[in-house]
Amino acid sequence: MSSINYAEKIPNNVNLSEDRKLQRALESWQPHYIDWWKEMGPEGTSTSEIYLRTAISAEPDGWAQFGHVKMEDYRWGIFLAPPEKDRKVNFGAHKGEDAWQEVPGEYRSMLRRLITVQGDTEPASVEQQRLLGKCCPSLYDLRNLFQVNVEEGRHLWAMVYLLHAHFGKDGREEAEEMLARRSGDADKPRILGAFNEKTADWLAFFMFTFITDRDGKYQLCALAESGFDPLSRSCRFMLTEEAHHMFVGESGVGRIIERACQVMKENRTEDVRKFGVIDLPTIQRYLNFHYSVTSDLYGAEVSTNAATSYNMGLKGRYEETKIGDDHQLEHTTYSVLHPVNGGFQAVEVPALNALNERLRLDWAEDVAKGVERWNKIIAKHGIDFKLTLPHLAFNRAIGHFSDIAVDPSGKVISTEEFARRRDEWLPSESDLAYVLSLMGGAVTQPGKFANWIAPPARGINNQPVDFDYVRFA
C-alpha cells in the first residue's frame, strides 16, 4: 500500500525523504509554485473551503477522501501509480528489455521535451480558467472548477518531480520556466497554441474540459506506455484524475443543452436567446472551434518526431499493449488523409510516421461518442437537431491542412469564402458577447443554478445537489 503521509512538507509516495538533495530542490521550488498559484490560480478563493477529493493513496481502493478543504491549505504532492512488477519496454527498438528506472543518456533531450510540453499545459489551463469563479452558475459547478484547477496544479507537480529527479540542472531550469510562462502572454506564451486561447465563459470551460482535456487523456495514455517507468507511473495516476475533468465538461455541456431544449419546448421556439439561455447553433459553433483548435495539438499528421519517440520506446500508441501487432511498425503502413487537388486522398505512409494522426483519430472517435450522448438529450426532447463534429481539415493551423480552407462538411473552399462565412461556423464576436452577457454574478446559494444551465443528475460523492460544496469565509 503506497499510502501518503500528509504530515510531510511535500506529501508523496516516492520516498522523497530518502533523497535529501532532491527533497531540498523540490522544497525550494515549492514556494515559487505557491507564489504562482496565488498570482495565477483561481481569483479570490484563498479563504474559501471547497469540498475536494484528495488522493490519500495511489491504490484504487484507498484512492481518495472527500472533505471541505481551505484552498490555501490544499497540499499538492507527488503520487505515482504502484509499480508493475517486471515491467518491460513494450514497443520500439528496445521492445522486451526491462523498463528503465533512469533516463537513458542518449534519449535525455527528447524525453525532457516530452515531459516539459506535457507539464506546461497544466498550469496553462489554470491560468486560462482563473476568472471563471466570479460567474459560476452554482456551488456545484464552482466546486468542480476548483477540483479541476487543483488537479491541474498537481499534474504540474508530477512533471516537475520527473524533471527534478531525473534531469539535474536542466530539469530544474525547465521547472522554473514552467512558472515563468503565462497563458496568452505576448512575450512568454505557453508552449502550445490551444493553451493560449481565452476561456472567458463557462461554455468554453466545459468544451475545453470535454475536448482539450481529452487530448490530455490521450497524450497521457501514450506517455503511460513509456519505457521510462517513472513517467509511465506518473501518467497512470494522472489519468484517474483526468477522467473527472472530462466528466465536468461532458455533463456541463449536456446540462446547457438540456436547458436549451427545455426552453425551446416550453416556448415552442428555436430563438431561446430572448429567454436568457444558450441556443443549440451557438453550442455547435463552440464545438467546431474547440474541436479544430484541439486537433492541432496532435502536431503534424506525418511526423518523424513521433516516429523517433516511438522507436526510442518513450511514447507509445493509445492502449499499446492491447494492440495485436509487432509493436515495432517498421514494415507497416498507415493510411493518412492528404489534401490533393482541391479534394482529399488517403495516402499510405510508414506507420511510424503516422502516429500523431493515429492518436488524433483515437481521440476523435472518443469525442464523437460523447457528442452522440449529447444528441440523445436533444432527441429525448423530440427536437430535430443534431450536433456534429466538423471535418478534420476544418480550421486547422498545424499540419498539412493548414494551407487550405475547408467548410465543416469537408468541402474545400477559397480563403475568401471562409473569411466571409467564418461566423456561420465559429463563434462570432456577437456569440461570445452574448454568452458572456449571461455570465452574471456568481450563483452561490446551495441548490440554485443559473438560468442557462440545468442541475446535474446527481451530486458529488453521493451528496445532494443542494449540498454546500463551497463554503465562503
Binding site: 484504487p60 481502493d61 484507498g62 484512492w63 481518495a64 487523456k217 489519468l239 484517474t240 477522467a243 473527472h244 475533468h245 472530462m246 466528466f247 461532458e250 455533463s251 472518443d366 461518442k369 460523447g370 440523445k376 441548490g447 443528475a457 446527481r458 451530486g459 458529488i460 460523492n461 453521493n462 445532494p464 443542494d466
Partner: protein
C-alpha cells in the same frame, strides 16, 4: 423470494472513461461501443471501482430477481429502474412465533393492528429467519458514549455484501447469539432497531448500523458489543410493518426517545438530511439521557442544522442541574407541539424504555387541554391513521 443485489452502471451518467475497468481487480467490468457493464458472476462487490469513478455512475446497486446479463446491459440507454425484482406485493410468510411475540410486546401500547403512516414506503419483511438467516460481516464497531460513563453504547455497522437486505427506517433486525443457554438450548432471538436510512449507513452501500447498549450479563448485547471488524453475524429480518417513516415531505415527525431508542430516529433524520433537506415537514426530537456523555450520537446531533431538526435534550443527572425528563421538555414546547398536533400531517413516534410512554401521554394530554384539543379523542384517531406509534422494550 430470492432477491440478489446487482452492481450496475448508469449509462446516462457514465462518460465511458474506462477508469472502472482499469480499477476492477477481478475483471468484472467490460465495455462495447456504447456501454460499460458489470458481470454479475464476476463482481465481488468490493467497491474498488467506486472511489475513482469521476461521475458516480458506477455506484448503482439494484435488487433483482434474475441478474441482468452483460448483453442486456450493452443494450441499455438507461437503468431499468422499477423492473428489477418481484414487487413487495407478494404475500410474505408470517413471522416466526418468537419474533411476533417480541413485536407484539414492543408495540403493546398501540396494539397489534396499528397501520403504518399513509405515505410510508412498502416494506420488505421476514426475508430471512432464524433457520435461514443471512450472513453479514461487521464493517465497524465503535463505542459512542463517553469513556468512564456507566453506559456503554456501541454503533455497529453490518455489511451484507452480495445479499439483498432491503429495509426501511424504523424496521429492526433479529440476531441470535451463537451458543446455548444454561439448559443447552439455542438462545432466543434479539431484535435491534436499524439506525441507518434505507440507502445504507454509507449511501449506496449494502450496510446498516445498530445502536446497542451493553447490559450487564446480557447475552445478546454483550455478543453484539464485543463483535470485531470482519466477524460474521447471522441475521434475520427485516421485521416491522407499522413503525415506519412517513415519506411525504410535508409530514411533521415528533420523535421521543431515551438511550438506544434513538436508533430509528437517527435513521429518520438521516433520511431527511440526505434526501429532503428542503422538505416543508418539521422534525422535532425529544431525547432523554442521564448526561450529555451518555447520550448516543451527541456530537453529530449537535452539528445538524436547525432548519433540518428541532432538537430538545433532557438530562436527568447533570450535577447541580435540576433533573429533566423528556416529558418536561415536551411541556416546555407546549405551544409549538399544540400547533403540530392540530395538523393532519403530524406523526408521533415514541421509542425507548418501557414506561416512558406514560409520562409522554400525560404531557400531551396537558398540552391538548391548554390549547382546546382533546387528547382522548385525538390519540386513537392518530393511531387509526397510522400517525401514532410506540415501540418500547
Amino acid at each position: 423470494m430470492e432477491l440478489k443485489r446487482q452492481h450496475l452502471i448508469d449509462p446516462v451518467v457514465c462518460i465511458r472513461c474506462n477508469t472502472c475497468e482499469e480499477a476492477c481487480p477481478v475483471d468484472a467490468i467490460t465495455h462495447d461501443g456504447t456501454n460499460y457493464v458489470v458481470s454479475y458472476d464476476k463482481c465481488t462487490g468490493c467497491r474498488t471501482c467506486v472511489s475513482p469513478c469521476p461521475t458516480g455512475a458506477i455506484d448503482n446497486w439494484l435488487l433483482v430477481d434474475q441478474p441482468w446479463s452483460i448483453d442486456d446491459q450493452f443494450g441499455w440507454e438507461e437503468l431499468p429502474l422499477g423492473q428489477t425484482g418481484p414487487g413487495p406485493a407478494e404475500p410474505a410468510p408470517l413471522p416466526p412465533g418468537e419474533v411476533s411475540d417480541l413485536l407484539a410486546a414492543a408495540t403493546a401500547t398501540t396494539g397489534p393492528s396499528v397501520p403504518p403512516p399513509a405515505s410510508a414506503a412498502k416494506p420488505y419483511f421476514n426475508l430471512y429467519s432464524r433457520d435461514t438467516p443471512v450472513t453479514a460481516r461487521v464493517a465497524g464497531n465503535m463505542r459512542i458514549t463517553g469513556e468512564g460513563t456507566d453506559s456503554d453504547i456501541h454503533h455497529v455497522v453490518l455489511d451484507f455484501s452480495h445479499n439483498a437486505f432491503p429495509f426501511l427506517e424504523g424496521q429492526s433486525i433479529g440476531i441470535v447469539p451463537p451458543g446455548t443457554d444454561a439448559k443447552g438450548r439455542a438462545h432466543n432471538i434479539r431484535l435491534y432497531s436499524i439506525a441507518s436510512p434505507r440507502e445504507g449507513e454509507r449511501s449506496g452501500c449494502n450496510n446498516l448500523a445498530l445502536t446497542v447498549k451493553r447490559v450487564a450479563g446480557g447475552v445478546g448485547s454483550n455478543y453484539v458489543c464485543d463483535l470485531k471488524k470482519g466477524d460474521e453475524v447471522r441475521v434475520a429480518g427485516p421485521f416491522g410493518q407499522a413503525f415506519l417513516m412517513p415519506d411525504a415531505p410535508n409530514a411533521n415527525i415528533i420523535m421521543i426517545c431515551t438511550g438506544t431508542g434513538s436508533a430509528p430516529f437517527r435513521a429518520f433524520t438521516e433520511r431527511r438530511r440526505r434526501n429532503a433537506q428542503d422538505a416543508s415537514g418539521k422534525l422535532m426530537l425529544f431525547f432523554g439521557a442521564r448526561t450529555p456523555e451518555e447520550l448516543p450520537y451527541f456530537g453529530p446531533l449537535m452539528k445538524l442544522p436547525k432548519s433540518l431538526i428541532d432538537v430538545n435534550l433532557a438530562f436527568s443527572r447533570v450535577p447541580d442541574r435540576p433533573k429533566q425528563y423528556v416529558q418536561d421538555k415536551i411541556r416546555e414546547r407546549s405551544d409549538d407541539l399544540a400547533a403540530l398536533l392540530a395538523s393532519a400531517d403530524t406523526h408521533v413516534f415514541i421509542c425507548g424504555l418501557k414506561g416512558m410512554e406514560q409520562g409522554c401521554d400525560e404531557a400531551f394530554a396537558d398540552i391538548c387541554r391548554l390549547h382546546g384539543l382533546d387528547w382522548a379523542d385525538l390519540r386513537p384517531r392518530m393511531r387509526e391513521e397510522g400517525r401514532y406509534h410506540v415501540e418500547t422494550y
